[in-house]
Amino acid sequence: MNWLRLTCLALLGLTLLPASGTAQSGPLRIEITEGVIEPLPIAVPNFVAETPQASDLARRISQVVADDLRRTGLFRTIDDSAFIARVTNFDAPVSYPDWRAINAQALVTGSVRQSGGRLDVRFRLYDVFAQAPLGDGLQFGGGTDSWRRIAHKVADAAYSRITGEDGYFDSRVVFVSETGPKGQRLKRLAVMDYDGANAAFLSDGSALVLAPRFSPQGDRILYTSYETGLPRIYLLDVNSMRRRLLNEQSGTMTFAPRFGPDGDTVVYSASTGGNTDLFSLSLRSGRQQRLTSDPSIETAPSFSPDGSQIVFESDRSGSQQLYIMSASGGEARRISFGAGRYGTPVWSPRGDLIAFTKQNQGRFHIGVMRTDGSEERLLTASFLDEGPTWAPNGRVIMFTRETAGASGAPALYSVDISGRNLQRVATPVAASAPAWSPLLP
C-alpha cells in the first residue's frame, strides 16, 4: 500500500501548484485601465523682454498664450502669484523643483525681442516632472501689429506638442453680426479671431446676409445675400474685399453654399419652381452639375475632407434627415435614424465625425455621429442651438445659441467634442452663423 500513500502525497503536492504558480517571474506586471480626466496644470510665466520696449508686449503675449491654453478646457493655468521661481532669463536653467512644488506639470517660457516694427518671439516647453523639454524650442517673427497671431502660434505649438493634435488658435471665424431689435435686426458679415478679438465688419448691413463659409485657404468667403431681393450666393475676396455674384439664374434662389476641399468646387442648393436640389459649380470653368433631382428639399451640403462624398439634409423620407452620397451625385444613403429632425450636417476635418443640429421634443441639440450614423452623441441642449462649425483640428465645435423671449439674442458658443467645456465665445455684438477658417499660414 505504499504506492497508495505515494499517490496521495503526489496529489497533495499538486494541490499546492496553484499557490506556487502565482510566484512572481520576471517584472511585476499591472494594467492601468482607469485614469482621471482633468485639466493639465501648466505654468506660463511672463515672457522675458529682451529689449526694454518689449516688456509690455511680452506680458500681453504670454497672457494670450495662457488664455488660449486655458480656454481649451484641457489645461489649467497656474496663477502667477503661486510661482516660486521667476524666469528672468530665457536661457537660464529651469528650476524644476520649484515648478514641481506648485504642481505645474508643463511649463512655457519665452522671450520677446522688439526692434523697430519687428517682433521676434522665442519659446520653449518643458515637462516638469520628467525634467526634460517637450520638443525643440521655436521662434516666430513678424510685425509688432501681428503680436496676437504670434502669441496664437506659440499656443498652437504648445497645445500640439502636449495633446498630439493640431492647434486651432491661429484661426479666424466669420459670422453674422446682429444688431437692433429682434424684429428688425441688422445683419452684417463680420470676421474675428477665434477668441473674439480683432472683430471687423465685411458688409455694411444694407442687405440681409446668411451662412458665410470660409474657403479651405481662408482667403475667400462664400455667403448668401438678399441684395437683389432673392437669396443669391456671393464670393468675397477677403484681402481685396471684392465680391462677385455666382451663377446668376433668373428666378432661381441659390443658398447654403460650401467650398469643396480643393477650393475650386462649390456645392450649394438651388430652388426652382418650389423644388430644392443640390448642385456643384466649378469656380474656374463655371461648369455647373446637378447632384440631386428629387421632389423633396435637399440642402445644407458639406464635403468630406477628401472631397469624395457629400453629406446633406433631405426630407425625402417624410422628415428632415441626413444623407450621404457621392460628390458626383447619385444614390444617397440615410445615416440618421433617431427620433426628431436632423439638419445642417458638417463633416469633420478629420473625416471621422459629422456634426449636426437636432430638433426633438421642442429642444435643439448640437450632436455628432460617425459617418455611418452610429455612435450619435448629443453635446448640447437648449431652446435653440444650430449651425455647427468645426475647428480646424476637429476637436471643437462652434455654434449659435439663441435665448428665448423678446429680449433673446443669438450668441456664439463652443464645445469640445467630448461634450465638455461648453463656453460662450466673446463677440462685440450678438452673433450667429459662425464658420471657422482653416489654420492660418
Binding site: M1, N2, L4, C8, L11, L12, L14, T15, L17, P18, A23, G26, P27, L28, R29, I30, E31, I32, T33, E34, G35, V36, I37, P39, L40, L74, F75, F90, D91, A92, P93, V94, Y96, Q105, D120, R122, R124, D127, F129, A130, Q131, A132, P133, L134, G137, L138, Q139, F140, G141, G142, S146, I150, I162, T163, G164, E165, R395, I417, L440, P441
Partner: protein, 375 residues
C-alpha cells in the same frame, strides 16, 4: 487556476475519503523492525582530551554579506536630465510682412542628455579582507618613530651604520699611487642620521603596525564531526599547536578556494498579493491624466517599464516604453502621460512592501485607455 482548483478539490476529496475509509480498506503496515548496531564507547579521558582541543580560529561564522543600501546607489544625476547647460542658438527668422508670420524656424536647441541606461550597480564588496586575521590586507608601512623630520623619506641606512665623527679627506689618485697598492685603512661604515617624514608619537605607534584595518565577523564554525572524523583511534593525539596550525592552514585554504560573492542579493520574498498590486494600480491611476490627450492617443495602449528604488520611488531615468499599438505621434503623447503618472504619484514612494522588494523592483505597466475614450 481552474486546473489547480480541480486538482486541489480532487486531492482534498481523496484525503477525506482516505481518512474516513482508510482504516477499512487499507491494512496498517507492519511495525517497523528495530535494528540495532554496535557502538564503541570512548573513555572519559579521551573525551576530555577531545573537549580540550582548542577551537581553530578559522571556523568562525562569516556573516552573509549584507546587500548595499540601494538608496545610496548612483542614480541618474539631475544635471544629465536637465537641459540647463546648453545655451540655445536660435536662428533669427527673416523679417516678414505684418500679414504673414514666417515659417517658424526651429531653434537649435541641443537635446538634453538623458542617459536611459541605468547606472551600473555598485561593485560587489571586496571580501578578500573578510579573513583579515588570516590574510591581512596589504597596508602601507607605518612610519617609524625618529627624532628628526626630513622633507623626503631618507633611504634606508645600511646595516650597522654608525654616525661618522667627521668627513674623511678625499684621496687624489696619482700615477705613482696607481702603481702602488693603496693602503686603505679599514674604517667602519658611516651614514647620515636616520630621518622620517612625520613624527609618530608613541601612542600612535603602539599596536598600529599589525592591527587589521577592518574587523569582520568570523567564519562559520565547521561541524565538529568533521574534525572528529579525521581522527582515528590509532592516530596519535595531536598537539595543541599542531591543531592551531592545521586550523589556520585549513582556513587559509578555504579562504583561497571560497568564491567571492558576485553581487549582493536581497531576499526574494513572497509574491505580491492582489491587494498590494491593486494598491499600486490605484495609486498610479490617480495620476494618469488623459484629459489632455488627443482622441488618437486615447486609442493607444502603451506598455511602460520602470525600475523601482527600495524606498518605493520610481527611478525616473529608467522609465521607458516597451510597446505601443498607436502611431508615433499618439504613442509619444500616451507615453508622456504615462510617464507623468508614474513620476508624479511616486514622488513620495509607492506603498509597496519592503520585504518583497525583489518582487516589485522591475515593473511593467500597461496603460490601456479603452475605458477613458470619448464615447
Amino acid at each position: 487556476m481552474t486546473t489547480g482548483a480541480y486538482i486541489s478539490g480532487a486531492g482534498h476529496l481523496f484525503m477525506m475519503l482516505w481518512v474516513l475509509l482508510g482504516g477499512v480498506i487499507f491494512r496498517a503496515p507492519p511495525p517497523n523492525v528495530v535494528s540495532t548496531a554496535e557502538v564503541s564507547l570512548i573513555s572519559p579521558e579521551a573525551y576530555a582530551e577531545l573537549a580540550a582541543l582548542p577551537e581553530p580560529e578559522s571556523t568562525q561564522d562569516i556573516a552573509t554579506p549584507s546587500a548595499p543600501d540601494l538608496s545610496d546607489s548612483p542614480t541618474v544625476p539631475d544635471a544629465a536630465l536637465s537641459p540647463q547647460s546648453p545655451a540655445p542658438r536660435p536662428e533669427i527668422a527673416e523679417p516678414a510682412d505684418a500679414e504673414d508670420v514666417p515659417e517658424p524656424p526651429e531653434l537649435d536647441v541641443p537635446a538634453a542628455e538623458v542617459d536611459d541606461v541605468a547606472p551600473s550597480p555598485p561593485a560587489a564588496p571586496d571580501t578578500s579582507d573578510q579573513v583579515a586575521l588570516l590574510a591581512p590586507v596589504a597596508q602601507p608601512e607605518a612610519p617609524r618613530s625618529a627624532p628628526r623630520v626630513a622633507p623626503v623619506p631618507a633611504p634606508a641606512p645600511p646595516p650597522l651604520a654608525e654616525e661618522a665623527p667627521e668627513l674623511s679627506p678625499g684621496v687624489t689618485e696619482t700615477p705613482e699611487a696607481r702603481e702602488e697598492e693603496p693602503v686603505v685603512e679599514e674604517q667602519p661604515a658611516a651614514a647620515p642620521p636616520e630621518a622620517t617624514t612625520e613624527i609618530v608619537t608613541e601612542a600612535e605607534d603602539e599596536g598600529q603596525a599589525f592591527a587589521p584595518r577592518t574587523s569582520i565577523r568570523p567564519r562559520q564554525r565547521p561541524p565538529r564531526q568533521v574534525l572528529e572524523a579525521t581522527r582515528t583511534p590509532t592516530d596519535p593525539e595531536p598537539e595543541a599547536s599542531d591543531n592551531l596550525s592545521a586550523a589556520i592552514a585549513g582556513a587559509l585554504a578555504e579562504a583561497a578556494t571560497t568564491p567571492e560573492p558576485t553581487a549582493p542579493s536581497r531576499p526574494l520574498g513572497p509574491p505580491l498579493t492582489q491587494g498590494e498590486k491593486d494598491t499600486l494600480r490605484v495609486a498610479v491611476q490617480r495620476c494618469w491624466n488623459v484629459g489632455s490627450l488627443s482622441t488618437e492617443a486615447l486609442r493607444t495602449t502603451v506598455v511602460v517599464a520602470v525600475s523601482m528604488l527600495p524606498d518605493g520611488k520610481p527611478d525616473n531615468g529608467t522609465i521607458r516604453m516597451l510597446s505601443s499599438d498607436g502611431s508615433q505621434a499618439a504613442t509619444s503623447q500616451a507615453f508622456e502621460a504615462a510617464r507623468r503618472a508614474v513620476i508624479r504619484c511616486g514622488l513620495n514612494g509607492y506603498d509597496l512592501p519592503a520585504d518583497k522588494y525583489e518582487q516589485w523592483r522591475d515593473i511593467e505597466m500597461t496603460f490601456n485607455p479603452e475605458n477613458m475614450r470619448i464615447k
